[in-house]
Symmetry: C2
Subunit: 431 residues, 2 copies
Amino acid sequence: MTTEAESGTPGAPRAAGPEGGVDASRIAAHLATFADLTEPGPGCTRLAFSPLERRAHAVFARHMADLGLSVGTDHAGNTVAELPGTGEPRAIGTGSHLDTVPSGGGFDGIVGVVSAMEVAEVMVRSGTPHRRPWRFVAFAAEEGARFGQACNGSRMAAGLTSSADLSGFTDRDGVTMADAMAGVGLRPDLVDRSRWRAEDWFAFVELHIEQGEVLRSRGLDVGVVDVISGSTRLRVRATGRATHSGGTPMHLRRDAMVVAAECVVLGDRIARDPARRGVRVTVGRLTVEPGSITTIPGEVEFFVDVRDVDPVRQRETARVLAQEFAAVAMARGVELVTETIADTPPVTLPDWVADHARAASDGLGLPYQVLPSGASHDIQQIGHIIPAGLLFVPSEAGLSHSPDEFTPTEQIVPGVRVLLRTLLRLDEADR
Amino acid sequence: MTTEAESGTPGAPRAAGPEGGVDASRIAAHLATFADLTEPGPGCTRLAFSPLERRAHAVFARHMADLGLSVGTDHAGNTVAELPGTGEPRAIGTGSHLDTVPSGGGFDGIVGVVSAMEVAEVMVRSGTPHRRPWRFVAFAAEEGARFGQACNGSRMAAGLTSSADLSGFTDRDGVTMADAMAGVGLRPDLVDRSRWRAEDWFAFVELHIEQGEVLRSRGLDVGVVDVISGSTRLRVRATGRATHSGGTPMHLRRDAMVVAAECVVLGDRIARDPARRGVRVTVGRLTVEPGSITTIPGEVEFFVDVRDVDPVRQRETARVLAQEFAAVAMARGVELVTETIADTPPVTLPDWVADHARAASDGLGLPYQVLPSGASHDIQQIGHIIPAGLLFVPSEAGLSHSPDEFTPTEQIVPGVRVLLRTLLRLDEADR
């Protein structure tokens, strides 16, 4: 079949190379298969280091094995398939993740894995010659929603998280990351053996949905990312005094809910301060104890996500928030403890990898936009040891981490073509 | 045994009547028995219309039956025991409730039921003659924590809540009050048959812990209540757009959490406005969806409890809150719906009943304080059909609806004596 009409850029020249083999219906079928692997409820829920995530990895592994690639899963749960090259030892790679946030969508991460599945299939079907080993990766546990820290599989591959760290992260049920991993058959004690060696690699390119509205608003199919936001995450516990809502006059209250609410409003105000333009502050999770209509809350726990492309402003904002939260609590006689549970700096991606992506877009006649990434990605971790690039495809209405997350298949196809062309260029390049 | 040393008022004259028989050790034993009937967790959790509440009622009923009283449970779950009089047809009564909020204490309501148990025992043991039937009542489901509406058993007895209303209240698991009642063997379809008739009653006096700090701060053992706060309860749902915390710039957010936080802060500010001095506004329950660290909350639901002794200010405050909440949400592109789920007006208690309570305190040499009640009580409902009075005993540190709720037995004994003397006075009185 021809996919020309589906490229969304009818005026673009026909892809002369294997990119013409990129197949929209296969991409749609893979997305539908993964969307079915979900817990009940709205959208898609396939949490980090859950049995459902492992089933999704098995689907990916099976596809690659059926294509004749060698496939393995490392101790951290990352699944890697390899298409051997013709002698050049340093590999190129592509991939993303298969887990989701609670009530998330079927595109965040998954589109990058499906793109890897399609690139592998096009390469095998077309028999396109290549010098380097091509590696296709499904990283484990990218979403930080369950354990607080994001990009867990890729952090372990990059040596940024070690076996010894894994008991320090717990989910809301008190399960440690180590126990969750062991519970799905992984080996948290051996993850340090699964670190990738920089000398084995030449470059890695991830394709992801934008999770913002820049591409949609400009009618573009492809984004080339220059810098990825960092993320500092705080856990805050406010402890007041739980007592009767009727019997306690306003001036005698030590209300943990009012303190938490002032902190949320303050975080929003600080992030909207023009002097900090670019930082984003979010409170996405907040729980109230005892949670009774007629009891002043004695304890509120909430989590703050601070994102920025500027590492100084990111850390400074987190510091100011902790300081201001303490002042808010003190003024109301409430105890408050702020703890940093994760801290990832922004990453500036190397120009020369992005140059290949831009040249690939140009070669396919697909206009692109250079833009920053607000969200964290596995490539940010892998970028610590391997030259890395990141391509975006559009997100409908900019929605992500939501059941309404959506990218039409015809807007994924051009991205996969650019990804394949970029990988072919990197295969030939010496830099 | 003598209880003189335990009265906390060593200088008070010895009680000459049956009040001298009030026994601290029996009171302590009853409190301990009820404290054991709890779900696991901090404090005491014995929710409205739960099997544990019914077990507590069975303990009460057994005590009364063992004393030789006739005992029955009505269709609403209220348990009533009667000690017959010598001919005067209109009864006097006392009692309170046995359910608790989640992680509440062992004194709110329970002290009033235990006082009724002790008054009944003293009357039976002393053989004190009395004209009127004396009724001892454990009301069902006083706490509004589970279903939003408080004082359910007493409201049904007073005809303020009907059988037809019972499917309109649901708990957080979606169980209706009707289903919860049927689930513990009650008859929600027949509660209208259990209404009390005003002509059967002369007066009703409830004893309760203060749930505030007035008595403790003044070193007094007894409070006589003149007015009980009303309570208007609002359920508020804010619906924004759940999307990625990294990919969504501040100015494109529709963050339901920030809107809810602004509403909480606003409620606190309005309640502290000197122009509204006396009103209390509490947000005790708030839930965030989807509740992921990296997702901007798409939906937040919270409950507001507005209390006042002034009915006009109570309703006006609830109205202003709903109006201001709507403005806050609109400014941030978030939808917001405010719904009134319960509305009980303040009640001014009749002077002549309080006069008997004051005279009883004076007669026992126990100084008292006349004060308002911030919390709702069953007497507030019963007061619609029967002349009613309310006595307070001190709350340690003013704490209530908390595992730390506490009143020492030696501070309950004087209250029970005043209760008994008040009932004896009402037994003799014609008004």
